[in-house]
């Protein structure tokens, strides 16, 4: 092992390999920042080019791209309210309001620092705890997935600003949208209206762009000339230092979010979007200033970004140890491993030890490189928002069109994006937030698979109750669901009583 680690360090600090990794991180950031180009797509495009490289170097570059793309998604989420990748959806909740307040640099530095912390955390977990964590994740069966999805849906209580009932309606609508396409169990064609392109379901990022971006553009131009909320960015000295000092004082927030991200990453099938939403929800739950979330505070950005970057390391744990990709980009990484004749499992740490440790240590380093690039690049990137709204609004629409088309090279996706964009605008004006709708769309497939498969298991075992309520992990998740639902109600009652006392 010591010999392998020594070779790994020699590989990593080879100037050419190191430079290629930095380029990979930088390229990943650019791709992630462009709406519609995902980490999966970037990796898939790059894999053929890495075929000619040495196995260790190719994994270093791919790891760099994966890390960079995951961070890059936050840039457009913060600056124009459009998540560059689905994993940065929760970053929009506080990132964009910060931009609106003229604090784009605060949000970008927070994102860079938190992503770095989360990424390094996930990478260290990947390095040291891969085998035992992979075994724990394997204990998740359909009932656990179902309860995990239900737990995720309890976030609606957090995301619903104004009316909880409207949040629930939005969540149910999102769940219904998630059923479009071929049913996962049974194979029925559902709600496709004759469009064969819809057989694979609604493309998540297309709907995300529609719900988050088009309403924002329309809200931007609906106001009278001169009365728009002008969003500007002026570089301020010492912002980065003060933000980082503030974040250092919140180690619990960063570590909790990183743990959530890593764990969600390890559970096969759950991606960075679920990780960021869950971490955001927990950040709200444990905060003493719950009401400030959604109005633009760095805690929201920190929770989302540290978790989605920690998820990257987590998603590679089952991949390297069991050959099960924890997320879609990890599946592409599996392809890259196989191209070089490597098969996941114990062999990776013995026969291919030098290559594997090169990848693992470079992965930690890639996260540090990502932080440095994000930290120094944020003030330059933030200048984008200084464009006047009359130029910014059409450019955003232009980007949404490119983004929604380039996912599947499908013009129908552009139509779907515009359709949901217009629905999003009307619902936003009538008090329905896009967050719960999108949450339902993301968690729907998990909930359905878990529910229907558990029911089949229950029929086979002869006890539905035992399947849904009799498994240890399920019981823990049910308790978490109950706590998640009851706590906001208690808090609301207390606030009301407090309000009455103050009024008296």
């Amino acid at each position: 092992m010591a010999e392998n680690i020594l070779i790994a360090f020699q590989n990593i600090f080879n100037p050419m390999s190191f430079l290629l990794m930095i380029l990979g991180v930088a390229g990943g950031i650019v791709v992630g920042a462009l709406p519609g180009l995902t980490a999966t797509m970037a990796l898939a495009l790059l894999v053929p080019f890495t075929f000619v490289m040495d196995a260790g170097v190719s994994l270093m570059v791919l790891g760099g791209v994966y890390v960079g793309a995951m961070y890059g998604g936050c840039i457009s989420a913060i600056l124009v309210n459009t998540p560059g990748t689905p994993a940065s959806i929760a970053t929009t909740f506080d990132g964009y309001p910060l931009t609106k307040k003229g604090k784009a640099e605060h949000a970008l530095v927070t994102a860079a620092f938190s992503s770095g912390v989360g990424g390094v955390f996930g990478a260290l977990v990947l390095l040291f705890l891969s085998p035992p964590l992979a075994k724990a994740a394997l204990k998740f069966g359909p009932p656990e997935y179902f309860w995990l999805a239900v737990f995720g849906l309890t976030i609606i209580a957090t995301l619903s600003t104004g009316s909880m009932l409207k949040g629930l309606m939005g969540g149910a609508f999102g769940l219904l949208l998630s059923t479009v396409g071929i049913s996962p169990i049974g194979g029925d064609m559902r709600f496709t209206f004759g469009f064969y392109q819809l057989q694979a379901g609604l493309e998540l990022i297309v709907v995300l762009i529609g719900f988050f971006c088009i309403p924002e553009v329309l809200c931007m131009i609906e106001k009278k000339v001169g009365s728009q909320d002008v969003i500007t960015y002026k570089p301020q000295k010492g912002v980065a230092k003060s933000v980082i000092l503030e974040l250092i004082k919140k180690p619990v927030l960063l570590i909790r979010s990183s743990i959530i991200g890593t764990f969600v990453g390890i559970v096969p099938g759950a991606g960075g979007n679920i990780a960021s939403l869950m971490a955001y929800n927990e950040a709200v739950r444990f905060s003493k200033e719950k009401e400030k979330f959604g109005t633009g505070i760095i805690d929201g950005v920190a929770a989302s970004e540290s978790s989605n970057n920690a998820e990257v390391g987590g998603s590679l744990v089952p991949l390297l140890t069991l050959g099960i990709p924890g997320a879609a980009p990890a599946a592409v990484m599996l392809g890259a491993l196989m191209i070089h004749g490597m098969r996941p499992g114990p062999e990776l740490y013995t026969t291919y030890g030098a290559v594997t440790y090169t990848f693992l240590f470079s992965f930690v380093l890639a996260n540090i490189v990502m932080f440095v690039l994000g930290f120094y690049g944020s003030r330059h990137v933030a200048r984008v928002i200084n464009l006047p709204f009359n130029q910014l609004a059409p450019i955003i629409v232009f980007l949404t069109i490119i983004g929604s088309y380039s996912i599947r090279n499908n013009i129908l996706d552009v139509g779907i994006m515009i359709f949901f964009g217009l629905i999003g605008y009307v619902t936003k004006k009538t008090g329905f937030q896009p967050g719960p709708i999108v949450l339902g769309l993301i968690l729907g497939p998990f909930a359905e698979n878990g529910l229907v498969q558990s029911m089949l298991m229950g029929k086979a075992e002869g006890s539905m109750f035992q399947v849904f309520f009799g498994r240890p992990i399920s019981i823990v998740l049910i308790i978490l669901c109950l706590v998640s639902v009851i706590l906001p109600i208690i808090a609301a009652i207390r606030n009301r009583k407090g309000g009455v006392k103050v009024a008296n």
Binding site: L45, M169, G186, D188, F191, K223, F389, G415, M455
Partner: protein
């Protein structure tokens, strides 16, 4: 009284009923989850309808909206899609960007001339087209009428 909340709740109720009805043609396994969700959506919408009927809250969600710019923008986005299908990505994008750069700048401090708008549009469109087509190898839509 019909408020925006009442109307949106009604719309969601109709969606729920339609989903329940359409799921009837599916197999038991395929229809179970959509029907459960349809019931949930229906119950929430109905509750919201009842609450808004009791409370009778006056809402003006579209007050202060300047339709002179909003409606052309909505039409413009839809027309952009149609134009893209017909004449392809590059010309439709140049047309859309040029028009809205010019149209939205009217009356503002930074008024753009039509020539400047077109130049700006060509540069942006060309730049992004090059990046996507040549670097990312992502082909952007070609029109039905012309190959661009």
């Amino acid at each position: 009284m019909l408020t925006s909340t009442t109307l949106s709740s009604l719309a969601f109720l109709i969606v729920a009923i339609a989903a329940w009805h359409m799921a009837g043609d599916l197999s038991e396994l395929g229809s179970f989850f959509p029907r459960v969700i349809a019931v949930m959506l229906g119950v929430f919408s109905l509750t919201q309808l009842i609450i808004s009927a009791i409370k009778n809250i006056k809402e003006k969600p579209f007050s202060g909206v300047e339709s002179k710019r909003l409606i052309p923008m909505i039409i413009g986005i839809v027309a952009y899609l149609i134009a893209m299908i017909l004449i392809g990505f590059v010309p439709s994008s140049i047309l859309y960007l040029s028009f809205f750069f010019w149209f939205l700048s009217r009356g503002s401090d930074k008024d753009l001339s039509l020539l400047k708008s077109v130049t700006f549009a060509v540069l942006i469109c060309g730049g992004f087209y090059a990046v996507f087509y040549y670097i990312f190898n992502v082909p952007l839509p070609e029109g039905l009428l012309f190959d661009w």
